[in-house]
Every structure is written in C-alpha cells, then in structure tokens.
C-alpha cells in the first residue's frame, strides 16, 4: 500500500524529536527467541527489534546498498551504485496473544514507499491464529523470508521476484497455526486476500508477468475480479533433517464484469510452489531451494506472447568456511555460496510452427560473503546469465560483478 511522503516526513521529524529526548541506554535490543522452534513462515517475526524503554512498540529494519558492473553482449552501463531498499519494521504486543507487526519499504529509495506487511495476529489456539491486514501471501518461501541480510546474494532470485511476484502482499484475512511434536513441526497458512488483475497478461514486459499487478494502486482497496485470491501453504520440518513447504495460490484474476455488466469470461490463475531448506549438520552447509509452476488462463485468441504456463526456481548453497574473531568481530563468518536459477516464462510450442517457445533465462551466481555479526552481511557476487527471446534465438549473455552490504538495524 502506498503512503504519502509528507506523512512519512512528518513521522520522521517526530521520531527525531523523540529520539533527542531518549537516553540511549534505554534502547534495548530484543533478543530473538531461540527457544521457539521456527518455520519459514515465522520469518516476519524472526527479525531483530529494539525496544525503547517501556514503550510497547519494537522497531527494526534493514537496508541494502549495492555496487555493480554488468555487461550484456559486450555493452555495459559501467559502474552503478544502487540503493536498493530500506525497510522499517514496527511491532507491538498489544496483549499476550494479540500482536501487530508492520513492514514499510522504500524501494528504491526515491521511487516507491509501500506497506509490505501490516497485520494483527490474534491467537485463539496454537493451531488457530487469525491474521488480518496486509499479509504476505505464503507462496513459496522467499516471499515471506525476503530480508536482504538473510541472503548471500545482492540480487533476489529471478523466479521469486519476477515469475512469482515477491514481495507480494495484499489486504486480507486468514488463519495460521503450528503444531510441535518432538523434532517435528507442522505449520499451515490459509488466506483470502486481494489479488491480480488483467495486467499480468497485458504489460510492458511483453510476457505473462505476475508482478505487473503490483503496479495497481487500487489492489489494496478493490479486487479486480471481485473474487478473493486464495493462498494456502503447509510446511513440515524435522529439526535435524529439513523443512519442506507446499503452497498454492489461485483464483480469478481478471476484471470480468464492470458496473454489473459482463465484459469478459472469468479467467483463472493457479500457482503451485514447493520449497525446501536444510542445514547439513557436519559441514554446516545451508541449502535452500524453491520451484514454482504458474498456470494462467490466457484467451486463445489473444497472443502467445503471453504464456499460459511458466515454471522456474532457484537453489542456494551456502558453505561457511571460517568462523572466528576477525578484526575484532567476535564469531565473524566467511561463507562461500552458489546460486543457480532458471525461469521458463512461456512453456509450450507455437501453434503456427509447432516449434518451441523460447523466453527463458538461467543464471549462476558464485558468491563470497562476510558476516561480521548475525545482522550484517557484505557480499561479493559474480553473475552469469543467459536470456533467450520468445523465438528461441541466440541468447543474450550478461555477466559481471556486484558487491553489496545489507544489514538489520
């Protein structure tokens, strides 16, 4: 949800004024609750916060800044500095079993200010919690677990941000819950929310592009189809083995009636995703992966430029190679990491020639990261990416380095 810049400036001025009167000693970092077992779905709460005195509000956030030098087929725009985003968290425990958490993102800094998450959670039972507000649809894993400092890469996964529309949030209601049994954990989430619109098959990207709906400022007030988007996820974790999540998101996406007059057929969108993460005990190797399938009802008299099927995913492997005091940072960690990712934007064949529709991209990203503490990461990446056009012509090749810092604050 977009909010006005004057409002934020006003709030910022108040916060400066307020801070000027606060003894820094009163600022207290709220430690993460490590006694609670967590699933990927807990990511929104699994963040560092600080509290101010006895204020019932906790604050936090993170920032991401990058340098990159990329070239495509020998053409480069040279050195680029990018302030990718800054995010502010505000959380409040209203009562023991009623919590509020919000996430406001400036992305990039000068262009867009959006509420990515702002929900009230009410616990009736560990298995039955009501969440209402602007929720992050639990499709795949990345959408709910997208904080920059958690990742070893300067760029977010293509499949999670361009095929799936992370971060993808909507106004809605839903239930979630968790159940523990020794080493096992089970969690579920079920939401009804606002959703997509015609722009997913009618956009400047010239391909089926779910994130196009994020540009619709009305989506927090009005569902284009008038029919809620359903998102559901189940996750299972064994604390010594792995976590696996299965998720689904679907519904009618298009505006099929306007002012009571039918103007089109109802067309569905269905998304399935599977996500997985584990840490191999002996080597401490962390592996996270996600794969998703998108099916969109595209009118057969429209254009194959907009695909009716998409699929893609990524896998990240992170290997700590050094953990010790470095330059005075206690337990600093150096990791090497590797990401490989692939998206086929348009699965299928041309009806006119029965030849394969191209429009795919794959990329590899070796990386090295330095974590002076658990909240901050410095990362150097190299990306090599090949992208094929819809006709399957010789792919364009992109490569280059990026360096970035991301930190919670």
């Amino acid at each position: 949800m977009k909010i006005s810049i004057p409002f934020l400036l006003l709030a910022f001025c108040f916060s400066i004024n307020a801070n000027a009167q606060i003894d820094p000693l009163l600022l207290k970092v709220e430690p993460k609750d490590t006694t609670q077992k967590s699933l990927n779905m807990d990511a929104v709460y699994n963040r560092p916060f600080i509290t101010v005195g006895k204020l019932p509000v906790s604050l936090g956030g993170y920032v991401e800044v990058n340098w990159q030098h990329l070239g495509t087929d020998g053409v480069s725009d040279g050195h680029q500095f990018q302030f990718r985003r800054m995010t502010l968290f505000v959380a409040s425990t209203i009562s023991k079993r009623i919590k509020f958490l919000s996430e406001i993102e400036f992305e990039p800094a000068e262009k867009e200010i959006a509420i990515e998450f702002a929900a009230i959670d009410m616990e009736f039972h560990p298995l039955i919690n009501l969440r209402s507000g602007i929720i992050l649809n639990p499709i795949g894993a990345f959408n709910q677990n997208h904080d920059g400092p958690k990742w070893e890469f300067t760029d977010r996964p293509i499949s999670a941000t361009q095929m799936l529309p992370a971060t993808w949030s909507n106004a809605g209601f839903g239930l979630y819950g968790k159940h523990y049994n020794k080493n096992w954990m089970f969690g579920y989430e079920l939401y009804l929310s606002g959703g997509f619109d015609n722009s997913i098959i009618d956009n400047q990207q010239n391909k089926t592009y779910l994130p196009a709906s994020k540009q619709n400022p009305e989506r927090f007030e009005e569902i284009a189809s008038g029919i809620p988007l359903f998102t559901g996820k189940i996750a299972l974790r064994h604390s010594k083995i792995a976590e696996i999540g299965l998720s689904y998101m679907g519904g009618v996406y298009n505006k099929w009636q306007d002012d009571g007059i039918v103007i089109d057929e109802k067309r569905r969108l269905d998304v399935f995703a599977i996500d997985f993460n584990t840490t191999i005990p002996k080597s401490n190797t962390f592996i996270t992966a996600e794969w998703a399938w998108v099916a969109v009802d595209v009118p057969n008299k429209y254009t194959e430029q907009y695909g009716s099927e998409q699929m893609g995913g990524f896998i990240d492997i992170v290997q700590p190679i050094l953990k010790r005091n470095i330059f005075g940072w206690k337990d600093a960690v150096i990791n090497i990491a590797f990401r490989t990712e692939y998206v086929d934007w348009n699965v299928g064949k041309f009806t006119s020639s029965n030849t394969n529709i191209g429009e795919d991209v794959w990329s590899i990203m070796p990386a090295i990261s330095f974590r002076p503490n658990s909240l901050t990461v410095l990362r150097l990446n190299y990306r090599y990416l090949q992208q094929t056009d819809i006709l399957g012509n010789i792919p364009s090749k992109t490569g280059g380095f990026s360096f970035g810092i991301s930190s919670y604050f």
Partner: protein, 399 residues
Amino acid sequence: MGIKSKLIVIIITSISLVQACSKFEPITPAEDEILDGPVEGLSFGQNRQFLAGDVAFNGEVFTSQTGLGSVFVATSCVSCHAGDGKGTPFTTLTRFGQIDSTGNQFLHLGGPQLQNRALPGFTPEQIPAGATFSKFTPPANTGLGFIELVSDEDILAMSDPIDANNDGISGVPNYAYLPTFVQPFQNAIPQNGKYIHRFGKKASAYNLLHQTVNAYNQDIGITSTFNPKDVYSGNNIDPEVSDLTVHNVVFYLQTLKAPIQRNRNDAEVQQGKNIFTQIKCASCHIPSLKTGFSSVESLSYKTFFPYTDLLLHDMGNSLDDGYTEGSAKTFEWRTPPLWGLGLSPNSQGGQYFLMHDGRAKSIEEAIMLHGGEGLQSKNNFALLSQSEKNALIKFLKSL
C-alpha cells in the same frame, strides 16, 4: 596461512576482480554477426535520434492502456523483427483483398490486413467471404535507409517490362497512389499520378514513413496523426503514438547499418558468387545499387550490396496466392534483398523461414520454389553438382 594473510589475499583478489570487471563480462559479438547497430559516421545528434528510435522500436511494448488493438497482430515492433532480422510464422501477417489492381474492395471489412489477435473480451477479425489472401513473413530491417535512397531513375533502368533483352526477366515497378501523409521524393518519376513503391513483399510501401505508419496501425492497432483510423472500430481516434516517436523510428530504420558480408575472400564463397551470376540469379538479385543524396552523410551517394532490383517479377503459379497490392499481379513479388540471409536463423529461432510466407525451410528449398521468371535459374541450380550447390549456398550464407 594466518587469518590476516587469508583476508589480505581475499581483499586483493576481490579488488583485482573489480578492477578488471569488464574482462569477466560477455564479449561483443563480431560486427558482421549481428544485424542491428547504426551506420558508421552518424553525428552525436544523429546517434541520439537513432537511440530514441531504437528504444521505441525494440523497447516499447503496447498494452491495452497504451493503445494496443483492440485487434492486432503483434504487441511491439521487435515482436516481428527480433534483432532487426526476419520474422517467423509466429508473427507472419495475413493480407486479404482482391486479385486485380482495382484497389482493395475489403477496406470496410478490415482490409487490407487481418488482425488475427484480440485483447481479452474482443474478437479478432476474420477473412471476409470473397476475399483472397496471402501471408507475409516479416522482413529484416537492416539497410533500409540505403534502399530508400535508390532513385526512381535507377529502378526504372533495371526494369524491362517487355523483356526487350530477351533474357526471360521482365521486372516492373509497383506503381500506386500515395497516401496523403507521404510526400514524393524530389527525383520521383510518377506515372499517371502513381508513384514507384519499393518496400514490402509486393512493393506496396513507398518509403519508410509509409511503412512505419502502416505497421503501427495494421500490425499493432496504433493510430497516429498520419493514420488516425482505429482498426477495430473504423473510426478516426486520437493518436496513440506521437509524431516524434514515428519520426524517430523512421530515422532508426533509415540509419540501421547494412549487413556486412562474412568470409568474402573464402575460395568457396568466391566460387559460389561466380555461380550466382552464371545461373542468372543476379539478373533479379542485382548485387549493387547506389544511393542518391541524403542529409545523413553516411547514407549519401553510397554504393551498397543488397542483391535486389526492387522490382516485381512473375514468380510462377506455385507462388501465386491470388492476392495483390497496387499494380502488382497476384503472381508477382518484389525481389527480396538477399543481404543478411546468412544471419536469418539468428532471428528465426535457429531455422530458416524463407520466401514471402516463410514456407521454405532452407535456402535450397527457397531456390527450388522459384518459378516464372526465376524458373530458368532454378533449373540451372538443379543441374549444378553438389559441390557447386554447396558453394552457392555458402556464398548466400555469407551475405
């Protein structure tokens, strides 16, 4: 190695990588392996206009919000001309109309072009009863600025309507009326109020402005001040593309470089070139033409090598689709330029889709589809030894 040493190594390595970052980026393809890019010698200002046209041509995607359709063939210029090369069946367009030069009798029913796609909720056009039709695969864009500058005098000098030299080749220009927004060239040689057209499969477009305005309108359903008629409703509506953008795209097309021949000194290529002339391919696919004056110095008074005569030729019954435009007969087709032929697969998904409708899947198949005035050359080709055929095709692929 101690921790400090390791860190120093990592830091030095990282800095070295960053310093040499461009060395780790994909290299530029050889200039003769790509079709896009401007002609050499443009001024800074001309480069800027070229880039503005490039953005409009290759970057602008039309949507329902920006004027697409409501019926259309493609959503952008680049959809049909990837890398400024030839298109594929995916964006092959269909023209419908009549069998003679009396003009298109189906304009009130959506002619001359079938918009075979429609926005959700709308219905695409259908070919009306009684109309004949033909399918046209999008051509390459490169070097069009040179072709635009060939004088009518030179085109007429290549024509031979009555086959006076008795070589079996009788190319004729396509004469047609100009739309109101097109100004004739200063050195134009009209005939009964009609002008020599030169672009398109039937040579039915006069110049690149004519071609560009038609493509916006008929291919994408985009109106302009030049052609304000909405292809869906038939009504004149507000322009959906600015005059500036149209002119930038025209300039982009005018200043795209000509394809560069590869391996021209290869012995087999040289042999193939000689065979090309010997079997009379060069009678229609004339190797070199010259431009007249242009305010763009890089285009002015240049000799270039398109392998076309810009004339219409009888190509025989098998290529007669029963549809025509302007003064062309249904069996007549404008000689397509052969330059860039070897790079066609780079824009056609790694395959060939040749001839006017992409029916030929190889150069050899395309040659064998020649009839009418091209029949003798086809027969000559069929009589070549395999090594001679290979040499000819290698030459054609070098273009």
